[in-house]
């Protein structure tokens, strides 16, 4: 067993599913922003909520955070996801994406939030697809909630919904990097441990 509740095989299986989803997310993000994105890193850890917050590097810069969640009965998993874009570095990409869709998009009130929500929704769906397909279920994500602030603050708001700071969570993190552009994208996915423990790892599990 790893930590208090997932076997090595279960952890490897979930990591593999997240990695497969991350590659799909990078592909969809490339389509929207017309910049090539790739997966820079992908990880999964069992840690306490306090540990997840402490593990974030100190960074006071402002990010656009898009929060989506899934809940039974629409989904088999209780899950929180947070997708982060650095505000300043991402602005030009969001503008390009908005222009590519329609000049009318830029006339929307809060068009930056609307574009961030739209893109995060599409790449978030790509991230969870591999998991849903593998578990033979549908994971229906909520509509996106967009806010801005430093990374730790945005993550703390999301983790507040999960439980107390001592609770153990399964914390997946994916970093996407843009080729030749300063923008980045961090995708965080949080499961309650009990939710994942229920899933059996197939004897052979190629993704």
């Amino acid at each position: 067993m790893i930590g208090p509740g997932l076997s090595l095989e279960q952890k490897a299986f979930v990591a593999q599913l997240i990695e497969a989803g991350a590659a799909n997310s990078a592909q969809r993000l490339s389509h929207y922003t017309k910049v090539s994105w790739s997966v820079a890193s992908s990880s999964i850890e069992l840690m306490t909520i306090a540990g997840a917050l402490d593990a974030l590097p100190v960074d006071a810069s402002t990010f656009l955070g898009v929060h989506m969640r899934s809940r039974p009965p629409q989904s088999p998993l209780t899950m929180e996801s947070l997708i982060l874009f650095p505000s300043t570095a991402t602005q030009s990409l969001l503008e390009a994406a908005a222009r590519a869709i329609s000049p009318r998009t830029a006339a929307l009130p809060n068009w930056v939030d609307a574009m961030a929500g739209e893109i995060a929704n599409v790449i978030g769906q790509a991230l969870v697809k591999a998991m849903a397909d593998r578990f033979g279920s549908s994971i229906i994500l909520s509509v996106p909630f967009v806010s801005s602030g430093p990374k730790p603050l945005l993550l703390a708001k999301v983790l507040d919904r999960v439980g107390s700071k001592r609770e153990t969570i399964v914390f997946g993190q994916v970093e996407l990097a843009a080729q030749g552009h300063p923008a980045s994208c961090t995708m965080m996915i949080v499961f309650e441990l009990n939710q994942l423990r229920r899933f059996q790892v197939p004897p052979q599990h190629p993704i």
């Binding site: 969809r28 009318r104 769906q125 994971i139």
Partner: protein
């Protein structure tokens, strides 16, 4: 043939994208709704030929909306337009004879799904 279409999607960006594609194809957008309940009410008052329907909506999911519409209107024509292309969602949409377009998509993808949902042969590009 031009259809009267109702767009049901929480995202204003997607609503713009679908509206412009539909207008390019010569269809008429008779209304927009940003929630499931709003979509059901708009369907009843506007009586469109077809709905485009998102899966993730703020108050209920798109498949629930479709089930509710089908109770009183078994022949309602729907194209699901969504970023959620999970196998189970596709299967459910197919079982309910709804068309399906996964984001990102082109005008041609939408045209093909509309034609299939309306029971016509898809137009050639």
């Amino acid at each position: 043939m031009a259809y009267k279409v109702l767009i049901v999607d929480d995202s204003p960006v997607t609503r713009i994208m679908i509206r412009e594609m539909l207008e390019t194809l010569g269809h008429q957008v008779v209304g927009e709704a940003d929630s499931g309940r709003g979509g059901i009410d708009a369907f009843r008052s506007l009586k469109p030929d077809l709905l485009t329907l998102d899966v993730s909506l703020p108050d209920m999911d798109g498949l629930q909306v479709l089930r509710e519409l089908r109770l009183k209107n078994p022949l309602v024509r729907v194209v699901m337009v969504t970023g959620n292309d999970q196998k189970k969602v596709l299967e459910q949409a197919k079982a309910m004879k709804a068309g399906f377009v996964a984001k990102p998509f082109s005008v041609q993808d939408l045209a093909n799904a509309l034609a299939l949902a309306m029971g016509a042969a898809p137009p050639h590009p």
